[in-house]
Symmetry: C2
Subunit: 720 residues, 2 copies
Amino acid sequence: MAASFLHTLMNPESIAIVGASNNPMKMGTMHALSIIKDGFKGNFYPVHPTEKTVLGFPAYADPKDLPEAPDLAIFVLPSRHLLPLFEAFGKRGTRHAIVITAGFKEIGTEGADLEQQLKDVAHQYGMRFIGPNCMGMINRAVELNTTVMPLTGQAGRLGMISQSGTYVAQTIVHLQKRGIYFSKAVSVGNEADVNIIDVLEYFGEDPHTSAVSMYIETIRDPRRFLDVARKITPRKPVIAQYVGGSEAGGRAGLSHTGAMAGKNYLYDGLFQQAGVIRVESIEDLYAHGWALSTQPPIRGNRIGIITNSGGPGSAIADTCEANGCVMPVFSESLQAKIKPLMPVHAPAGNPVDLTFSMDMAIMTDTIVDLVMQSGEVDGVVIHGAMSTGFMKAVFPHVAHLLPDISLTDLVDQSNRDLSATAAKPFAHGIPMTVSSFFDRDDAYTEAYEDAGVPVLDAPEKAARTMATLIRYKNIRQRTPLAPAGEMDAHPDAVRIIDEAAEKGARTLDEYAAKKLLACYGIPVPEERLATDRDSALAAAEEIGYPVAFKACDPDILHKSDQDLVILDITDAKSAARAYQAIQETAGRTVPVLAARMIRGRRELLAGISWDDQFGHCVAFGAGGVLTEAINDVVYRLAPIDDSDAREMTEEIKTAKLLDGYRGMPAVDRDRLAEILVRLSRIPLVHPQIREIDINPLLLAGAEPVAVDALVILKEPAGLK
Amino acid sequence: MAASFLHTLMNPESIAIVGASNNPMKMGTMHALSIIKDGFKGNFYPVHPTEKTVLGFPAYADPKDLPEAPDLAIFVLPSRHLLPLFEAFGKRGTRHAIVITAGFKEIGTEGADLEQQLKDVAHQYGMRFIGPNCMGMINRAVELNTTVMPLTGQAGRLGMISQSGTYVAQTIVHLQKRGIYFSKAVSVGNEADVNIIDVLEYFGEDPHTSAVSMYIETIRDPRRFLDVARKITPRKPVIAQYVGGSEAGGRAGLSHTGAMAGKNYLYDGLFQQAGVIRVESIEDLYAHGWALSTQPPIRGNRIGIITNSGGPGSAIADTCEANGCVMPVFSESLQAKIKPLMPVHAPAGNPVDLTFSMDMAIMTDTIVDLVMQSGEVDGVVIHGAMSTGFMKAVFPHVAHLLPDISLTDLVDQSNRDLSATAAKPFAHGIPMTVSSFFDRDDAYTEAYEDAGVPVLDAPEKAARTMATLIRYKNIRQRTPLAPAGEMDAHPDAVRIIDEAAEKGARTLDEYAAKKLLACYGIPVPEERLATDRDSALAAAEEIGYPVAFKACDPDILHKSDQDLVILDITDAKSAARAYQAIQETAGRTVPVLAARMIRGRRELLAGISWDDQFGHCVAFGAGGVLTEAINDVVYRLAPIDDSDAREMTEEIKTAKLLDGYRGMPAVDRDRLAEILVRLSRIPLVHPQIREIDINPLLLAGAEPVAVDALVILKEPAGLK
């Protein structure tokens, strides 16, 4: 297994730490205390220049004096002292490390040099390490915590990977108060060696981890991320927050993990392609990840809503619907079973709204059972379960009326055994999320959370969490990736590119570009290139009127915006006029492309883009006048397969244009997908190509045709 | 003042309650306890059929026995007993009431009848009342709480209006834990008498209320809402969550407040027009409302970010940028002041990232002062201020190292006076929001919240809250509403409609529709209606080629999808062919409209829609092939003024199409606004018109032209 070294790194039998002392307010000490106090059962060796014992353990002045080569060494000392000690561990035989120490790439050139030296030393001794500039890791399977914050609560099933240490360590208390627990968590820091993809690969195989949450500011190797994630997501959900698409966010990201901020839309495409669910906030990353890690898989998108308050019930319904869920009206027979349990006239049709009611067992047990057993829903969202929290809230007012009863008595009274209640989703195999305005002060919230049922502090959040379970269902069920078929270089295409390269051209003209596309089966209009008036007229005659004339010169961009395209030429006289007009507008002699007139009201865009980080990507979206106006373009790493292509066509905002639509036929989706797949492979057979821009890819009836195209070549080697 | 009765209702000097007893677990008792225990200082009269005293107060069996006519009567008894008692209070002279009791319109016909009777009795005695089916109200100015939940915490400056009782009462503890406090709050229930607009009008004048949050499932009188809200929003922020746009949400909403669910896009338009900020969750409704009620007004959109953790700093920057904020790079001189306070190499350019640091005073005082004084930002978002919460979290690990120090000592040590820290935004007049993963367990969170500085439990939330302050700035600064100019009915238009009405027609044909539009200065192409071939050819000649021919018959919709429109006719021969083709396609003799050919690549839509709840609305958006594909249409209640019209044109997703764009000129915005304003007034002078659909409103260069139009008339009175 590729990431097996991470298994050793996260399951060490012996740990040394450098930087811990007996001063409890020092970072190094706090990291050490987490190891000692939170349950690590192996050997523990503090390394300290002067102290004889540290935190009650014998201390060693030099790694060479250690009684064994520790499986893991942790470094929390100033960066200027790091290298000699790191190397000493290498010499002693330690092969795994965590470098908490900051002051590397994130601070600039000087730090980057130091980081390179660290990598060199590690390489020399075959050491793998997390960091530098990280917060360490947590492995609840062996109760090992190397972060600065004490562990709380139980072990969970959510694996957390983060490029910010805060989201692994400083949020521990925050998460415990929300009943969210990790199985394992890794703060990767600067990723000098171990990166988020390594950890993802490891979590993908980890039996203790049922879902993975990733906080991401950059993906250093998008192609490997795609390969690794795509293998995991069909069987284990992966959810990610990507931050850094903005300029200021990039500034912040740059500064603290030394990462290069990438492009938002490319990350969007990468996540879609990889089956990774993207969320927009750390709250969703945690809560939705938690729900994915604990709830049974959802089988459909039908949601039942059970509430004792109309407002939250409406908000849940509204939010569910806006996020792709369906709230079926319950059958007469199901409603007939529910109605006797509720106040007269209270609605049981979904939402089930019991109105303000304190008989919680009916709502949280009887009705939940009925709805989950009905076969009419795939998931349940419930609002308003409460007991002790409510009692505590009202006690100050009622206390003097109940002189013989203490708050504890009252709480105990309302505190029935909720273990079966909280187990409903697991017993029925139907996922559930809970909305409650009471936190763990309330016995219901506590019982649900401790059983692994997500409790959200607002109805909209419970609904959105449920919607994320459905998003994962769609990923689980998507067409498996087809093995990429081969596509050989076409000799004509090779010649076209070679000729351009010989001339030192950076772009292919429209004629050459479309010839190249045609080599790979991408439909283009019948056309002829004419360098004088007579051959233009002859070409028009051969093609058959009506035709279009266009100036054809690689130096002219946006032809149609400059009146260098004349459409709907119906006869020779008009053709002669058109030829002349183009020459006059251009102000010099330009070749003219005579093309069969293709008609269509729907303009798409397809292309290949280049990004230094992502490499070649394939783009698809709204074309023509819309391209810049609504920026409705989606991306995938090239090459793509048929299912990727179909997802792209469904993902654009104007997807409805592709359906049968106001008298226009539905696009030939097989053909469209084939075009995108073929297009995506062109840069593989012609790596000299940097970008391809087909705009518009016009829908002539149901058939996409590349009506205009541009190919940009890479700078010759040596230039840039 | 229109809503002065609400002042009396919410500031009573004496209150009677029906339905309270000495059983502390009864709803009525809990409402009474809230009044007694939470600080009401006036006279209190329980009315009870048998008890001599209730909750220590002398009880009265009959309202007529009360020593005075109470200013306010509260009813918490079963609906079947309500009316006689309600009437008895009317007779006794009480003029204000709250009907908590449920079982009215929300349960169906029978309940609606009872609700009507209640209204009749109220009318008979001149009584105004809140409810039925509500949770009561809170007025912190006189510490009056008539809800079921005990008040907690201090008085705030946020006025809450809710169509769900839960959001006024059951969330009290939830809100207190987040440091959010109401000035006044009203649960309006079924709105049989007092509705959300009345309360809004009252809160608009209330000196204790600085911002208003509204939870809305329906607005029964959108026009009055617009009038009232538009007067308030330039000087006091109003923020609203509207739930009920979805089908299931409507089902839930219907069931519990007896309200008719309205249409999402119409509410969007209404809120925009009224200057009401719409949010999508109850969490935002509370938190953003709270920030608007406490923070100094923001003067621009430049945000400074101060953090001690890179991840949250990036997330704040990213979220701010995505929501219209600007994060300027700090000047060299400001950075020079900040850098000496930070670790070497730590970035001070905005975000200021101190990295993990426990010297909080530098971050929360010194640097906040520097940034706020700099003149370089209009608002500040800060992440990571913490003290006692952190100490409590780490104490379990360090306790044994500090045998002489208790947790209390440690907390006290780190618990410096934060009153000046928390007052920074007020001292500098620069709004601030705080992101913290520590709740009120931490002294910082508590100090900020109690001073009125919003603390959010995630960086994205702190950023979005700040963005809402900027949204309000834009509302505060928008062009004041211009008084609506008059527009008189044009005699030709009157004749066109009368003729159609005489024929019993429900629609005007394209020719008549455009004639009508032209009467009001809306540009249409020059055109002639022809009923035979010769007149069609003559018309084309008169207009001048090229022309377009269209079938013109009110029964034919979507002409262009049926080949009943022929464009670009360049000569008489083509015109003859075109005339013939249209007749053949139609399969019968149809009149033909000959029109000057108008060219343009940008198709818009403008229109008038009709909704039984909202009345006539004006619509504007993307036209032609895009109309249904991306649903990019915005609405306003008709009529609109010039500033409304300009906002509509800026609000559509494809707004960029209106700018100078790929060789096309920018639209004439004055002309476009004028067209929308004039269009919006047509239904006022012709109330017989139900709908107008101009699609496309083509941009011929910079000039919008109504190239196709349809007018639908209302059903004649008596029908429908």
